[in-house]
Amino acid sequence: MNLLRASLYLCGLVLVGCASSPFETESVGTARDKPQAPGEGPTVTTPPVITGPTPEAEPSVEVPMPLPPPRERPRAPPATLSPASKALVSQAQGQRKRGDLPGAAVSLDRALRIEPNNPLLWIELGRLRMDQGNFPQAEGMGRKALSMSIGDDGTQAQAWQLIGESFRARGRNTQAEEALARARELAPL
């Protein structure tokens, strides 16, 4: 039972310490690996266990401690569209311009069946929902795109832009500003 209590306590501690937003984790830390598929087999480096306070909480003035190398956020290549979904997206864009919103929805539905994991398609669908005046769903699509573009700043910026616009359209200006600031931060002009 002691073990149980101890581990619960430790876990709680950690979770409190890491409750910050995923976008503020670009701080100093240890290098970490991030295999995406579980069970990809062992990786070459095993991260050391940090049992004490985190490095930044240890300001040492007199004895310069060698800081661990900055943790790299894993980078993902920018998302791209396959030729088939590209054709469907441009068809949808044409349909949107003509005001044929149901038609655009069909084209994007088709593209999503081809590439359901492509965040760019979810962003397109979110833009269509904006045109349709369905702002909560535009936000939903933006968030879905975020979950599919971790490590791809350019795409994340587009998703935050969409989310920001959906907030603004609903008059939620503070949240809109936050989201748009994130977009700018991820893709500086």
């Binding site: 991030k34 087999g41 044929d100 979950s147």
Partner: protein, 786 residues
């Protein structure tokens, strides 16, 4: 004299009376004819057949990179009624030579556009499309095949039809109809008296009503305006109406109405009317593409759709078809040679299972119920709507086969309780929430009771992920948090005491959360659920998409909530979709009769669960498949396919469940008895087998969600929850934790091991606990659960 005068007066009066009576009779007849005329004209002029909504499956999109072999495409084209020829020279034909296919795609009115007919050339590499060009060699990025018609929403015992315009009718059909049914059609005025006399004579000789001298117009009148009673009055009415119709309308109009009206067969409760639907019903292709022998068969069927039913009485149908062909040749409508070669052809009707009309009742039922949210019943059964559904016919067929095969296998095993098992499969596409297949039972057909939508059963351990998600969302638990797998007693409001037990009756003491879920430990789960709070767990059900929150009773933690397979699919779809809830939908688009888009459910996503919590839960559900109760499925799946899932068994083995997903398919399987008697099956031994058979037979992708940036993978010991090295064979498990989480290091196999030539560990390698006794190890693998 006076007497003579009197008789004359009487006679005159009588004459006058007769004239008056005749005049009155004439007037009455005139009024009758006039009212009939009004009725006939009004009804025929504004003629709108009540058109049941037509439901299509999702179309196959052709594009480079699509997983589709040349063979598979050929099969799909056959099913769509495409004709394999030496050259694809007209819409509805194709040619396949090894890895090359040329297909002349039919024109089709989709919900967004009229896609024109087009000749496409495809090249294949393995089971993928490698090239897609048009006739001139220009690349085509993407093109749709016309979708499979899967059924209609017709009223009970109702008529179903597909209306065709004259340009969709092969020229041979009206000619053949005239030749066989009504030779004088082009000349008569609605009634052919010599034919009636001939028929009358034949009937008198036969002593009963055998032959009808009806013209096509009379047949039309009978089908369209009157019921089928055969009385003299009906006959006269019919004749008068036929004459009126002929006087008022063109012959071509009458012929077209006949082609769309006439009764041509029965499909269960559905009456097949008109040649348009009959062509789909018998041959699985559009009327315009019928060949001579097929046209002849349809004309043969007109005389007696039941007597000459080509599926039930093929010999009779063949005999009459060839008689029709002979008649046509005899009258010079076709050449004698053509008649002879057509007579040599087989009937050419499709198998009922392949013709694709009305054979997905469980799915169509869902379509109908979803449409009922926006449409009135009459709109669906009469207004001629065109419905584009989300059904994937290939997946549907595989699901039907997998379920039937597994249930038969279980029955043959001779297990107690395995006789007369029923089952359900619901398949969805997790990212979009589209329902792609529903099998409602062993028999595709059902009588009103749709198990997938209506059978409410306790979900057993399918409930556990909801408990663990509720816990993870508090932020106070990780995969190695210790749970107390220890006896627990709960006082219920009614005074009883609830004493749950583990399936094996064993007690494991403190266990890491990942092991508790993987091995489906009841006591650990109940203790966790009580710690987290019943209300919070019940809220999780609603959060994941259950419309009615379950009662927050303690027994809910072990799956006492009664849910339908579709409701389970809705909740698990949210788990499979990274915590995004998409309302399950079976309909993608609806068009009205004028091809105008109408209201249809839209693709929705809403983030309803904490991204980190859902990611951690999903990773643990992968472990269920790799080393827990879902492990028996691995033998049916390709080695690298990552899937996640959970077994469920209700009390006394009454219900066997499995809910599991890959990256592109969520499949829910239920196996049990309609009378709720015990099956003797657990989730692992019953539903899981059908699940893995199906998952292993389809083209699917790994479940590989991206890890949120606030998490990182760490190697931990499955049994102790301590951090360990990946080389600690059997016990090491890679799981996500908050970045830099402090984890107690393992003393037996510490995390800092030298890099050496240790064998790579398969994630689904059998777990071996160096501390566990052999019998315990055994139990880990084979332990069934509740």
């Amino acid at each position: 004299m006076a007497r003579r005068k009197l008789t004359r007066r009487v006679r005159r009066q009588l004459q006058r009376g007769a004239v008056v009576v005749i005049l009155l009779l004439l007037l009455a007849a005139l009024i009758a004819v006039f009212s009939l005329d009004r009725r006939v004209t009004a009804q025929f002029e504004g003629r709108r057949w009540t058109l049941p909504a037509r439901v299509y499956a999702q179309p196959i999109d052709l594009y480079v990179g699509q997983t589709l072999s040349a063979e598979r495409l050929g099969f799909e084209l056959d099913r769509l009624g495409y004709l394999a020829l030496r050259a694809a020279n007209r819409p509805g034909t194709y040619r396949r030579r090894g890895q090359r296919v040329e297909v002349y795609v039919r024109a089709f009115r989709f919900s967004d556009e009229l896609q024109p007919a087009r000749l496409l050339k495809l090249g294949f590499e393995g089971d993928r499309i490698a090239a897609l060009v048009d006739a001139t060699g220009v690349d085509i990025p993407v093109y749709r095949l016309d979708p499979l018609l899967i059924g209609s929403i017709f009223p009970v015992h109702g008529e179903d039809r597909i209306v065709v315009s004259p340009d969709q009718v092969p020229a041979m059909l009206p000619e053949a109809l005239k030749a066989v049914e009504d030779r004088k059609f082009d000349q008569h005025h609605g009634v052919n008296f010599s034919a009636i006399l001939r028929a009358l004579f034949a009937n008198v000789r036969a002593g009963q009503v055998e032959q009808g001298g009806s013209t096509l117009t009379q047949q039309l009148v009978k089908n369209y305006f009157l019921d089928s009673r055969r009385t003299l009055r009906r006959k006269i009415e019919e004749a008068v109406m036929a004459v009126i119709l002929e006087a008022r309308f063109e012959k071509a109009d009458i012929m077209n109405a006949y082609i769309n009206e006439i009764y041509l067969g029965q499909d269960g409760q559905r009456a097949v009317h008109g040649f348009g639907l009959a062509s789909q019903f018998y041959f699985g292709k559009p009327l315009s593409e019928l060949e001579l022998h097929e046209v002849a068969l349809m004309v043969a069927i007109v005389r007696g759709p039941s007597y000459y039913d080509p599926r039930r009485h093929p010999e009779r149908a063949l005999e009459r078809r060839n008689l029709v062909l002979k008649l046509l040749a005899g009258q010079g409508v076709i050449a004698v040679d053509d008649a002879r070669s057509a007579s040599a052809r087989p009937l050419g009707i499709t198998e009922p299972s392949r013709q694709g009309t009305g054979y997905y009742p469980a799915f169509l039922d869902l379509v109908r119920r979803q449409l009922r949210a926006d449409y009135k019943e009459e709109d669906l059964t009469e207004a001629g709507l065109v419905v584009f559904s989300t059904l994937d016919p290939l997946l549907q067929n595989r699901a039907e086969r997998a379920l039937t095969a597994e249930l038969e296998r279980l029955e043959k095993s001779g297990r107690k309780g395995a006789k007369g098992l029923e089952g359900v499969i619901v398949a969805t596409s997790p990212q979009t929430g589209e329902v792609t297949a529903i099998v409602g039972g062993r028999q595709a057909s059902f009588d009103g009771f749709n198990r997938a939508l209506d059978a409410r059963r306790p979900i057993g351990s399918l409930a556990k992920p909801m408990v663990y998600l509720a816990a993870l969302e508090t932020g106070e638990y990780s995969p190695v948090s210790y749970l107390a797998d220890e006896p627990v007693e709960v006082k219920l409001p009614n005074g009883d005491t609830w004493r749950p037990a583990n399936f094996t009756k064993e007690v494991n003491g403190p266990v890491p959360m990942v092991r508790a879920l993987t091995q489906s430990l009841n006591l650990a789960t109940v203790n966790l659920g009580l710690e987290v709070g019943l209300e919070r767990v019940a809220d999780t059900y609603a959060q994941l998409g259950l419309e009615k929150k379950p009662n927050a009773y303690p027994s809910m933690l072990l799956g006492a909530a009664n849910l339908t397979p579709l409701e389970v699919a809705q909740m698990y779809n949210t788990l499979a979709n990274g915590g995004f809830r998409s309302r399950l939908r079976a309909v993608r688009a609806v068009l009205d009769e004028q091809n105008k888009p109408l209201k249809a459910p839209e693709l929705e996503v809403e983030q309803v669960a904490d991204a980190d919590a859902i990611y951690v839960l999903d990773r643990m559900l992968i472990e269920v498949m790799n080393r827990g109760t879902g492990r028996p499925a691995r033998k049916d799946l390709s080695q690298n396919l990552v899937v996640a899932g959970k077994t469920g068994t209700s009390n006394d083995y009454r219900d066997s469940w499995f809910a599991g997903f890959s990256g592109s398919h969520l499949l829910i399987v239920w196996v049990g008895h309609d009378d709720n008697s015990p099956t003797g099956l657990t989730g692992s031994t019953g539903a899981l087998a059908a699940w893995s058979r199906l998952m292993g037979s389809i083209d699917t992708s790994s479940f590989e969600p991206l890890m949120p940036e606030s998490l990182e993978n760490r190697w931990v010991d499955y049994f102790t929850g301590e951090e360990t090295s990946p080389y600690c064979s059997g016990v090491a498990l890679s799981l996500p934790f908050p970045v830099d989480a402090p984890l107690p290091p393992s003393t037996i196999c510490p995390p800092y091991s030298d890099e050496g030539d240790w064998p790579m560990i398969q994630p689904w390698a059998e777990p071996t606990d160096p501390r566990a006794s052999p019998s315990q190890q055994d139990a880990i693998i084979s332990k069934p659960e509740t």
